[in-house]
Symmetry: D4
Subunit: 227 residues, 8 copies
């Protein structure tokens, strides 16, 4: 039937990993459960590591029935099918988040890194209202190659962190907060105006994008000009 | 002449100090030099402490010629005439600011506090990109009754400060920054979303308003219910 | 199990009361019912006064079952467990609100003050459209050490109030209104631009934050420099 | 020459007074001095009352040289040529403004009313920070048929006024203020959300439009259905 | 019980009709069904005409059960109890709207006018995309004392109308539209910038407020200065 | 010298006319006078028709000295060098504008059409506040193949026009207006929400872009599928 | 009954096809199912081609029961009744979209074109992240008379496309994305700022409007000046 | 004198290079010429590489007189004093920009990279309106370790680039454009919503910040975990 015919709604990009360093992944929002499952199956059939993000609970139920090998992280709304051939990238990524409510976004980053074969660790609830929580982890953070800093509300965590470390800090604003947090716009704006130089920023709640950026950066570990 | 006749453009509120704890002050923007000078002279004639804020350089020149006893702070764009009878309020206010570019706003706060008879001290350039600068002043800050924290860009200074002290923290966003700082809107929004509880906020660049709020708070030092 | 393991999602700050004058409280939005209950139980086990704000009805039901000693204010969406050792702070806080629809926010402030041991009283429905309602309470308001003024729509209540009293006025904009009220942004902006000097502002619907600010201010009653 | 040929840039609407109750007036901003003078001359030649608003100082100089019978209000940036045949409308309009800085807008309203033959009086500096100033004029205001209330900053004046009177209240937000006043957007939004029912609003700094609205309303005094 | 005790959540303003020309009405949004019913009953008991706007369907069901004499307009979400003593104001108000989707707002205006005793008539679906619809009603519109023009999307109806008539035109933007209509902000902004002079504007979807403004204007029909 | 070396700041696209139907033109804002002159000279040397838009007066003076064959439209801030080989496109474009202040934008469209060899005519000052002005030109407008409708303030002109004609209507919002016109954002939003179907919109003040769109549309006159 | 009486809520415009080139269509949002069905029936009875857009699923169910000849496109939320007399317009329109999630909007355009008798074809999922997908279709696209380019997120598809073709490109931003996509505002703004000259834009998610614009443009194919 | 005393306005952070990998640099905006010169002199005296960005022309003149060894890039508004001890970092950074008007921002990035000892090259004017310009440089770009992509208007350049390469792409929005470009907000939003995964973004016109981020990333080339 035409509606289930992949070519009527999608044209998959099987060369993306060769061009960009990671495969095409599935953005689950705005797609029907049938579309998500069909795309995931096709990518898996081509031996790609498979990740679908922002999958609504009802859609997840449908997908998991269709693809029993898939793994579901409910909190992060991610579904994954590990690639048969594991990739292992050099380097280590720290994912830190300001509060408990920021965890779903932090875990989307963790899931993406894991699917891409990038080593990572997660430190939750180290926001700047109790500065000792961040400072006590500083030694561990300085061992990371990249830090992904996730925060909502006033989004101060990346600024404070970047003032203390040398490695890249990728800031992820979250929609956590209310009123004048404007669904994450405030944290986004704050991070773009960080007084600590060299912080870069991704879209609100975009743990996925931060992880992809980290994977791009890890390509520097292998020394491109050598290739 | 009618244009110089005070009643044609202003109705002074000589009872404000009795009602609100501080006299009527002059907001210089949007007023002609003649209007500013006339209002200041009238307030001084009634024995009030006089402060005009946001006085443009050309207006200041005119006013200083008319009122030779006035004192001018060019950086803060304030003009003051000290009251003949000095008031001395209990308590001490710390004014801190994140960067050199925030100094004009911080000094507007200092000037207002001084005119109101509130003891105060100023610590410049202690933004969170170099956290040691703030932490090294912590003991001094903990001795203040109130902290006015002035910052532009991402405006993280009040959050970090309020997580470390017990006293009221009044956050003043400044228009320092560019692009997505949106002339101070970003710092304002960030401060309103502080993850440190109990921070209150005033308008952008409003060192004056922060100082007035501090003066209101100092009234608690005298123990109102006793009165 | 890891998901119920507190350290996997939270790192509690048991020293906050010593540093900031009030304990860590629980922001209920964006947390699962299990997380809320676990954090509240841990805080209570440490003898802290416990307050969870913004708890959705379904989450509240779960929490109340787990923590039978907890008290629920449905209108304000707060859950409280009073501390075993009562604190009693000097001073009195008035909470006033413009209309009936602003009551939930006003009561969040009242609940927070009560948990913190701050004496308080509430005056509902005294908005400026019928000025006599506010003016008739003026004598009572002048006896308060601090006024928390809660209003939606055009948010004029704090301006009018602050012009009549000497004590600190903390303005709380609410999301009450429609269309160009922009979910409280209008009231927020109006309050930040108050023509009455010395009004400070907290985030939209943030009765909790206003109360915390009041508690910080009450620390002035005990005369910090004496310590 | 074509550039001075009126038909190359304007098509005057000589029937507007018959249709709308007032003649076409000249919006000076964005027009060259030559265009302003040519349009004013043409309208005067047709016996219309002539008003140009928002005329920049340099443009005004040019116009006044060309049209020596014109009268200039520098503060309001208006230029007027009274009609030869005076119209006298029934009713009286009060124009009130919150602060000295709002005067230019209030006077644009006064000038427009005067050119239209509507009786009016002006009360400056009666903002709500000192409520006694408004309350002491209440009896006088209650004698007006219409009140035009001009205010910047938080724009609370129309709300408070409309709660006290029965007649129409036309709210004019001004761009007076700074930072979060957003060049008058805050006052505009506040006035649109007035808790006092039946306030209507015009554009920021639009004293002219408020006066035109008042003139439309005065048409009710003559009892339309009788016509 | 306290929750049903009117004084715990409301302080009714029984003098509003004497001061403002119309009684206090009930804004239904953000109030519980019990609160709405209690306030309506109290107003009715004092012989006031009663109108509740923005009453959600479930709340309406509760209220109608408690107050069987009440009348419900489902489309407009209004509930009314006619006053025992009918008022009859001089003058006639036309309510026009651009499209079928704007009808609920137009009918809120009609209901308010009717409760206030103001004669009115409604012309639906006369938007400017088919100009002949408006032009064919022009003669009828010119007999009205006031026109309330309701429109969403680009909100051009009041501009076109006001260019054709002499009476006051009150513009009501609606939230009808999508995308860049920004829930009515676009129509609101457009109406505030009307090129037809003397249009005044109320909040988005505020048919109620437009009607109250019309009632204020109708007071001019009786000739205030005569009183 | 490197700064005057074209390749250090520009890479001209000499194939654009072959690909897109019109040559590369020069956006003058943000370029130095030297850069503008160098690019124009190079394009002219390649036999292209040359148009520079948004050229500031001082830059224009420099360019005209360097390129004596160039023609300057001061009002529109355009500089043109006609191509040696004239192109003549089939079809005719009407450019209409609401008010005198919109003329510069309308003339930028006229200039662009003329440089591209598209026949056009201009009707100024036919805004909807005096509807007869537009209606009296209707017959002439219905003979055009395309209408470019330029308007500021509430931007209603394209809606009203498109409801009366069959041809494409390209709406150009202008920054004419003040306060809530938000420098043309209001007109832009209004045009995007036109209740008349099939209106398309370009950026604020973008007479140039509207003309380019018209040129693209005129390609339909020659019947593409025939080629 | 009055509520089902068409004239109480709508005044149909049966001359629109004669004036504008296409019939009146039904905007389904904000109308009751009964209103939609009644209007569609009336249009069909007059022999018009009938299209209702934005019909919610429950409303669609009602309409389809009332009008069994109607055809439903669930994904696009459109309901159509083909006209008895088929129109066939000259020319061909390509509809392209960036991702699978943009399909509903693209299909609204396709449905509208089909109802209007305009030949069209659809190319899904050719966004710029994998540029080869667009480039491989270039030959096919160059044969179209008009291209409708539909995209969410950063909305770059129309810019890239318009740089490669000569025909008109109508850009349709979609609300696909999250966080800083601001429900399509970002794509809308980006398209309005296209660096490729001559792109025109319609409202967010407005596939319908883009198709109507295309139909207007197709009128050029028949050579208007000949008529 | 106190005003020239560095400690009265700044507290320099001489350990920043040790902590963050690059020294403290001077943000010139909002500082007086005297402050800029004093800070630069102090940093140079400590053997740091010195860079001041956003230095206004008049301030630059003053600084260059005081510090004759300084080098000035007028277009980028940067002033530099090379460090005596040259650092040479591994890796190469490409800076590309969409148009000639984006050059100042691209050169701020180049200057910062050069001061930090990072090898770099610049490709101007390769925006997506003429795609061949970017595609022809692809081989060269694929040899870079990091790409900084600078663009104004719709900001599509980073999306298209990132879809073609594996290395990190840092997007820099510029304020180039007009009207709906909103001074760079549009490009900023577009870049945050890039459909190409793993793009990170810095503030508008922030060539400096992008370069600092690149320097952080280059630290990966040396293999952190080895240290």
């Amino acid at each position: 039937m035409k509606k289930n015919d992949l070519s009527s709604f999608a044209e998959l990009d099987f060369e993306r990993d060769r061009r960009c360093g990671f495969a095409e992944f599935v953005y689950g929002a705005g797609k029907t459960p049938e579309q998500i499952a069909a795309i995931m199956a096709e990518l898996a059939a081509h031996g790609k590591p498979v990740l679908a993000t922002r999958v609504a609970p009802e859609a997840a139920e449908f997908v998991l029935k269709k693809l029993p090998e898939a793994v579901h992280d409910e909190l992060a709304r991610s579904i994954m099918i590990p690639a048969r051939k594991k990739v292992r990238r050099p380097g280590k990524v720290a994912v830190i988040c300001a509060g408990t409510s920021d965890l779903p976004v932090a875990r989307e980053a963790v899931n993406t890194l894991t699917v891409c074969g990038a080593e990572n660790f997660l430190i939750p609830d180290c926001g700047v209202a109790g500065l000792h929580r961040l400072l006590s982890k500083l030694e561990r953070l300085r061992k990371a190659d990249i830090i992904i800093a996730v925060a909502g509300m006033e989004g101060a965590l990346p600024s404070v962190t970047a003032g203390l470390v040398e490695c890249p800090v990728i800031a992820v604003p979250t929609s956590v907060g209310y009123g004048a947090s404007l669904n994450g716009i405030t944290a986004l704006l704050a991070m773009l105006n960080s007084c600590a130089s060299g912080v870069t920023v991704v879209n609100i709640d975009n743990g996925f994008g931060a992880a992809c950026a980290a994977v791009r950066m890890l390509s520097l570990r292998s020394g491109k000009s050598v290739r």
